[in-house]
Structure formats: C-alpha cells, structure tokens
Amino acid sequence: MNAYRPATNAARRHRAIRATARGIGWLSIGVGVAELLMPRTLAGAAGLRGREGIVRACGVREIVTGIGILAVRRPGPWMWARVAGDALDFATVGSRVGRRGNGSLALAAIAGAAVLDAGCASAIDRIERRGKPPMRNYSDRRGLPLPPTAMRGAALKDFEMPADMATPALLAPWPPTALSP
C-alpha cells in the first residue's frame, strides 16, 4: 500500500481558505446584483450620486469575478482581480469623499473588503506554491511488453473488427482499395 496520507492540519487550513474564497465569490455575486438593481441607493450611500452608471458597471464586474471564483478550481487570479477592483472602487469613492453621502463609511468598507480579498488571494497563492510536491515519474509505465513502435498493430493479427463498429461504407475509401501506410 502506498501514498495514503491522512488529512493534516494543513489540509484542514486549505479547506478553510477555499471555503472563505467560495464565500467571497457568493458575496461578490450578491453585491453585484444589488449594484445592478439598486444603483441609485448605493450611489447615494457611497457619495456617488449621479454616477449610477459606474455603480452598475461595478455590479457587472462583481458578478463576473464572483462567478470566476466559484467556477474554477484555482481561484487565485480571480481573487486578485477582486483586489484590483477594490483598488478601483477605493479610488472612485475616494475622489468624491467630502461631498454628499457616507463616502468615508464606504471607503472603510471597501478597505475592509480589500484586506479580506488580498489576504485570501495571498493564502491561495501560498497553497498553490506549497501544494506542488515533486512530480511522479511514470515514464517506465508502458503496459506493453516491447516499445510502442514494436507493438504497433500487434493486435491486428488476431483481431476481428465487429461489423457494427466499422466505418460506414459511405465513408470508406472509394474505390475500395487498401490504404497503404
């Protein structure tokens, strides 16, 4: 028996990080849907009144990154895309702080989200880097008694092609002459 490894603390930590990433993915979709459906309300809260189009665009971006995080096995790049989006949001809202709305509160929320996103993205990167043990070498696993070049066509001497699996006559060479290799 070989190669069985019980779940370790590291494995449990990896699962927790991936669960966090999935949570962020769903949250991203939720925020995105809200930004698409309630742009005026959210724009007002973030001090972006009159810029509902930007809020909707952010909503599309949130949904895309959320689906990306949920859909792939290695969500690191999508998490970093969220971090970039957070920076963009921070710059957009920051440029309007001091005008109407709760711009400072929105900035704090964006900063918090950025810290969470960046932390999760870094943790996933660390998993990816550590999670690559030395590659196993199967180059001797031929399964054939001789090199493949010597085994080419070896089964043909006593193999009978079932008629129902043969190439349809319509697609066979015409005129029906043997093909030469």
Partner: protein, 389 residues
Amino acid sequence: MKALCWHGKKDVRYDDVPDPRIEEPRDAIVKVTSCAICGSDLHLYDGFMMGMESGDILGHEFMGEVVEVGAADHRLKVGDRVVVPFTICCGECEQCRRGNFSVCERSNRNKGLADKMFGHATAGLFGYTHLTGGYAGGQAEYVRVPFADVAPVKITNGLTDDQVLFLGDILPTGWQAAVQCDIQPTDTVAIWGAGPVGQFAIRAAVLLGAKQVVVIDNVPERLGMAEAGGATTINFDHESVVERLNDLTAGKGPEKCIDAVGMEAHATRSLDSLYDRAKQAIMLETDRPHVLREMIYVCRPAGTLSVPGVYGGLIDKLPFGALMNKGLTLRTGQTHVNRWTDDLLRRIEEGQLDPSFVITHTVALEDGPEMYKTFRDKKDGCIKVVLKP
C-alpha cells in the same frame, strides 16, 4: 459489512451497511478482493449526475470470490474468482443478443425513471445512480450481482487482481473507444484526456495499428505515462491544441478523435469553458462539453468521433453545423464490456498488455473517502486508485 457510501456532493463515507443477500435465483454474492475508483465515480462525487440518494453504495469496478449463488445460477459456483463488468445484463433480450450489453432491456429496474430521462432505458449499472437501476456498488466488502450467470468473467489462471481488475470497465472502455474508430494504418488518433481510460485507449490505438497517437491533457504525470505508451503529447496549458494537431497532420486534422474526458472538462483557459462553468454554476447546463466542441472543430472531414467519456444531461453551444457538414461519424455509449472481455483476457494472458501499469495508489477501503479527493484533485500523481476491502 463496510462500504463507501455517497451522502451528497463531495461527501463519501466509510459506512456500516446491511450485508447483501440473494434476491433472485440468478443472483450471486461476491466477496470483493479488489475494487477501484473510476473517473466516472467523480461525476457522482462532484454532484453532476442526477439520481443519487444519500446512502447509496458506490463503485462499479470490482472483482472477488463468489461466496453464494442463487438456485438458477448454473454457471458460477462458490469459490470462483470473478471480475464483474459494470454493466448488468440479462443475456436474453434483443439488445443483449446483438452484443449491445450496455443497453440491456431488462436489467434496469428503474426503467420508468430512465425512460423519462433518456427516452428509453439503458442497462442497470452497479453503484451508478437510480437512473441505472440503483444497484448497490462494489466499493464494499460484499456485492449482490444480479444475472450473475451472464456477465462475470471467471479468472482461472494465476493472474493477479491488479492485472485483471480493469477488465470490468476501463480496459474494455479504452479498447472499445479505439475499436469504434475503425483505425486504419494511415490514421492519426487524437485522444483527449490521459486519465485511466485515455491511457488504455492509447495502448489500444497502438495495438490496433494507428500511424500516430496524440494525447491532450495538462497533468504532467499523465502526459509522461501517455508518452511511455507511445503517444505524442499536447499540454493544453502550454500550446494550442488545434494548431498543434493541424501541425501533426499536415494541416488536415486527425482522422479519429476520442473523448476520454466527458462532462467535466477542465480547460479553464478557453473562453467556452468559462462560459460552461458560468452556466453550470447557475444550473443552466449540466455538462461541460469543451472536448466535444474541440473534437468536432479539429477532426478531419469524414472522420470519426468516439465518445467513451460520460455525459449526464444537457450541453450547450455544440457546433452541430460543423459535425454535419464535415460528415463526421459519432460513436458513443457505455461499454459493451462482455464483447471484449474474452479477447482482452487472452491478450493479458499472452503478455500483449499488462493493465496494472495504470495503478498509482493502492489503499485500504476505509481510506476511500480521502482517496476520492486525492483522485479528484489529481494530487500526488494520482491516476488510478485500487481499494482493498
């Protein structure tokens, strides 16, 4: 007895379950000595196949010793060593008489359900959803084998479990995938997926005389094993599959294409795969048919597509115009295992092929739940897991 049971998405447990018993006169009870996790078990593990119920016993690749036979089973006797094909067949219906064992008309005891899903029911399968009969699987200490006087393959020689276990599924599946391509000596055979079925399809294509065998995957260990079997490899993370296949075939494309991947294609860098994953995430599509699309696109006109990879439901954006206009032949289906078992057993006995090369992990049955994850994530160079109850 102990068995690996499905309890939901990514939830396989080593459970205590009732011992199986003879229910019909043609049944037998087999004490499992070796079983395996199949790539298609991962579709159940990942929750992509419909018709599973919590507590279902998994597994359709298994072999062992007959410990009990029904009154009407005159073929097997207690003590026989058998490999049990994953398809359950009666041996008497019209399809079985034609050798189409995987579409046996009588072995699926949930025929009504399967009729609704597929139009007409297919054969019963071990450990593979209630759409195919809801039969208890072979990742267990004991299994009830229905119609045991038909399909089980007796092993009467000194071959080891590792050499013959795969006669029950993946070896004939790879073999049938190549056979239904009707390989000619001038053919290039392109195989998507270097998992266990892909590995056997490579060896089958070589033995059946293909001029060139090309395999497409992105797992280095699997590509290494494919090269050992005689394949030219394409890592889709590093190069364009279509461009390289055209380069290898003087711009004409491969004559024969085999999809040994199925419904869970992982080509995450292609646009259509992202589209599939997005639709799958919001339950608007069940399967990810990236490989089918690529095969249809790159295959030489009048070529053949062979699909042993498992699909379960609905797919989207299939370029059927290309398939029709190029006059491609499409061959699919679960494997008619017993068509090939005698021939393949003889080839193993004669040393033409040793299927044990594909085994990378052998563990106790109780370690199965952890190995599902290892296999699913392709960790630790995992290509094929054998479990020992």
